[in-house]
């Protein structure tokens, strides 16, 4: 089939050798190609069993054009005839898309979109800054606000923000934070307990007892919650409930 094995030659020799490839050689190669096309499937399989042709040479120069592409082997199997159907689908899709695009063809320039980092990165930075400012509540408050604007569904963050506000005696804002923490994570007993505490501060002992009861339900073994519940029940005038809660507390202490 007219293939050449790689041989060490200078670039001049290679070029000379290429020019020496006579018209007869080419005609012979084309004859071989016709013979190949007439072969049966089994004969083609047998022919393909021989090692694949080596088609390159080595010149120590940067290749001017990929001349090797135009070999007998390549010519014998034209690309268009064997194109699988999905490539045609791709082309249709591409040409349809191109129809809507009137400007520069970016593909030919080898340029594509760049990945845009999300705002989670900013949110993470805000949160780290907020947590690092334990001794600067005003600064921390700003960063918590910025963080929670970006991640409003983070129950842990709402709870931490609530704790900060509680420390500053900003009870109304703290209530909103703990409420948000409880809304986004209803299984968090601490948020319910904090709402119970704030209800007590407000003087609403009935609500406090309800919130503490919720917290105890979520954290059954928590003695602090039970004790606060008993106090709230007492304050709300539910002395029998408070007695039962204290009994439960004593039972837990006895178990320990």
């Amino acid at each position: 089939m007219g293939w050449r094995f790689w041989k060490r030659r200078s670039s001049t020799e290679v070029e000379a050798a290429e020019q020496e490839l006579s018209a007869d050689d080419r005609a012979q190669a084309e004859g071989e190609l016709e013979d190949f096309e007439e072969l049966s499937l089994e004969e083609i399989d047998a022919a393909l069993d021989v090692p694949a042709p080596r088609i390159s040479k080595f010149t120590f120069e940067r290749p001017p054009v990929p001349a090797e592409v135009d070999t007998e082997v390549v010519r014998s199997m034209p690309a268009t005839a064997e194109e699988p159907p999905h490539v045609r689908v791709e082309r249709v899709v591409r040409s349809k898309a191109a129809g809507r695009r009137s400007g520069t063809d970016l593909r030919s320039r080898g340029v594509g979109p760049v990945w845009v980092p999300g705002l989670l990165e900013c949110a993470t930075a805000y949160r780290l800054a907020a947590e690092a400012r334990a001794d600067d509540p005003a600064g921390a408050r700003e960063f918590w606000s910025a963080y929670l604007e970006l991640c409003p569904e983070d129950a842990d963050a709402w709870f931490s923000f609530g704790q900060l506000l509680l420390g500053e005696r900003r009870y109304e804002q703290a209530w909103t934070s703990f409420e948000a923490a409880h809304r986004h994570d209803p299984g968090n007993g601490l948020a319910a307990g904090a709402l119970g505490f704030l209800s007590q501060v407000r003087g609403d002992h009935v609500a406090a007892a309800t919130w503490y009861a919720t917290a105890v339900g979520l954290r059954p073994g928590c003695r602090d919650m039970l004790s606060s519940l008993a106090e709230a029940q007492d304050a709300a005038g539910r002395t029998s409930d408070a007695a039962r809660t204290r009994a439960e507390l004593e039972r837990l202490e006895a178990e320990d």
Binding site: F60, R62, P63, E82, R101, G103, V114, C122
Partner: protein, 570 residues
């Protein structure tokens, strides 16, 4: 706008762009720009404006092009030491405007290119040459050739500008190998000396020099590397002097490892798009063959008493490439066997660099996950090797401390592996633990991102989001779709589309939602037709068939199995 809305808007912009709805894409980028400006998110703004500029260029929107070029220019003026993302955008701008763009002020583009080039030290890429006009052989023809010959033809074509008629899979090769760099004076000198020595039949000097040049070419001019690889093979076929085996620089060893790296990169690039499956398999077979030859050569050398201290590390590196080739050839048992010696070393932390340990353990976990074995312990070991203590860490401050250590040690790549391993660990479970692990992976990536190249960050984000999508998170599937589009991974794109469609189908309530879900699954099947044939395409076809059969029953896929198959690293 919160994080979730912002992500959804990003996805919408990219989807609109893919569909060709440039007006919607432009509006979404514009809205996001305003939000990012509010947070003074410099890197994010650069990326947004660049993407917006591309959309404006495609739309031929002259006023917007001018405004965006001015914004980008002023941003380049403001930044000092550029972040990896800023440097990447600068390189893309230089490539984009390397030649004048019709309808755009040439002086303005020249000024922007000058500013961008200044940010990257003036290293402007040489524009690719126009296509030669010669017909590019079909994939069937390339399959019939020997792998090195096919590699030469493919890489030569990939070094040129894309032609309208050439196969789409060549774009993946272009992305994998990057632009060709001009021959450096040092490489030129080495090549010249090698040529002279070989002309004088002095292979003892010529061969090692040519191997040096080959190593240079792998990094800078893949087509040249493929050509020199053939030259070296020819010399080896004619017989090398016995004394070459004793040359201290081990030229044969280096030649095999460089060949392995060349064909591995090519095979991986050919493995995502439809149409090149056979060519990719031939390249993978060659990788397996060369890798095995290197292992045999090294064992033979060691048995002669010529073992080197660095052999252990190199065996691990070669083992990784060989295992990946064996996985591509569906020989999981041999892949596990190839890795086994290095896995034992990685488990006892016997490598000089923990990056190698984490790579080996990650590869082992990947093979086990594909084989359907319980890979949880191996993924956990990979996480521990890459980011010690991170799986047990709770709270963002502890994660930040881990990231601080990583950045101080300068092992960002290892940290990236750790994030991907954490996603792998999440895939082995479900429920809150898996969600917590994925949340940790996302937080780590957000902290590491400023130190990562954008494509690496996108690839890692894609792995994390595909893992979340597999656990039923539809928003994550959409984010993965965006990242897969950016990195140009067709298979991941199809997989993300499949997860999105299937999740929509599972969540569909009522005829309208079901119809929309069927359309999304149909999109995924169409996308899968453009991806390389394999498990993802089969999964998409099965899902398309299942949604047309009837409404979903429970949360499982057709036949009680999840429709989306597992894929390497996802």
């Amino acid at each position: 706008m919160n994080v979730a809305t912002c992500e959804a808007r990003k996805v919408q912009a990219m989807e609109a762009w893919r569909r060709g709805d440039l007006a919607l894409a432009s509006a979404a980028w514009g809205e996001l720009t305003a939000e990012y400006e509010r947070h003074h998110f410099v890197d994010g703004l650069l990326a947004l404006r660049f993407n917006h500029l591309l959309v404006a260029l495609e739309a031929g929107d002259r006023p917007r092009i001018d405004a965006l070029m001015a914004s980008l220019g002023s941003q380049f003026l403001q930044i000092g030491d550029p972040s990896p993302l800023a440097a990447d955008v600068a390189r893309r701008i230089c490539r984009l405007f390397a030649e004048p763009v019709a309808g755009v002020d040439h002086q303005a583009t020249a000024a922007l290119v000058a500013l961008a080039a200044d940010r990257i030290g003036g290293q402007v890429e040489v524009p690719r040459l126009a296509g030669s006009g010669a017909p590019f052989p079909s994939a069937t023809t390339l399959e019939g050739l020997e792998a090195p010959d096919a590699a030469l033809i493919i890489l030569r074509q990939a070094a040129r500008r894309p032609d309208a008629d050439e196969p789409v899979w060549l774009d993946a090769v272009r992305r994998a190998f990057g632009p060709t760099q001009p021959l450096s004076p040092e490489a030129s000198r080495v090549t010249e000396e090698a040529a002279q020595a070989i002309e004088a039949d002095d292979l003892l000097h010529g061969y090692p020099l040519l191997v040096d040049a080959f190593e240079w070419a792998l990094q800078n001019d893949a087509a040249l590397a493929a050509e020199w690889s053939l030259g070296l093979a020819g010399m080896e076929a004619e017989g090398l002097p016995e004394r070459l085996s004793f040359v201290p620089s081990l030229p044969e060893d280096r030649r095999l490892r460089t060949t392995l790296a060349l064909h591995h990169r090519l095979a991986a690039a050919l493995s995502t798009d439809a149409g090149a499956e056979g060519v990719a398999l031939a390249q993978w077979r060659h990788v397996a063959e060369v890798g095995q030859r290197w292992l045999d050569l090294t064992r033979e050398r060691s048995s002669r008493g010529g073992g080197r201290a660095e052999d252990v590390m190199r065996e691990a590196e070669v083992g990784l490439l060989l295992a990946e080739a064996l996985v591509a050839l569906h020989d999981l048992a041999t892949a596990e066997e190839v890795l086994s010696a290095s896995v034992a070393r990685a488990r006892r932390d016997a490598f000089d660099h923990r990056t190698v340990s984490s790579q080996i353990l990650r590869a082992q976990a990947d093979v086990m996950e594909r084989a359907g074995d319980d890979a949880e312990a191996t993924w956990a070991a990979a996480v521990e090797a890459a980011l010690p203590g991170v799986d047990a860490a709770s709270g963002i401050r502890r994660l930040a401390r881990v990231v601080d250590v990583v950045l101080t040690e300068g092992v960002v790549d290892r940290a990236r592996l750790g994030v991907e391993a954490l996603a792998g660990l999440a895939r082995t479970g479900a429920g809150e633990l898996a969600s917590a692990r994925l949340g940790r992976a996302r937080a780590l990536l957000a902290m590491l991102r400023p130190a990562l190249a954008p494509d690496e960050a996108a690839r890692t984000a894609m792995v994390v989001d595909l893992s979340a999508a597999r656990l039923g998170d539809r928003a994550a599937a959409e984010r993965a779709l965006e990242a897969a589009h950016v990195v140009g991974d067709r298979t991941a794109l199809a997989l993300a589309a499949l997860h999105r469609g299937w999740q929509a189908w599972l969540e569909a309530d009522g005829a309208g939602e079901r119809a929309a879900a069927i359309e999304l699954v149909g999109d995924a099947a169409a996308e899968a037709q453009r991806a390389a044939a394999g498990a993802v395409r089969r999964g998409a076809e099965a899902a398309a068939a299942a949604v047309h059969r009837g409404p979903p029953r429970g949360r499982s896929g057709p036949g009680g199995r999840a429709p989306a198959p597992r894929r390497r690293g996802h």
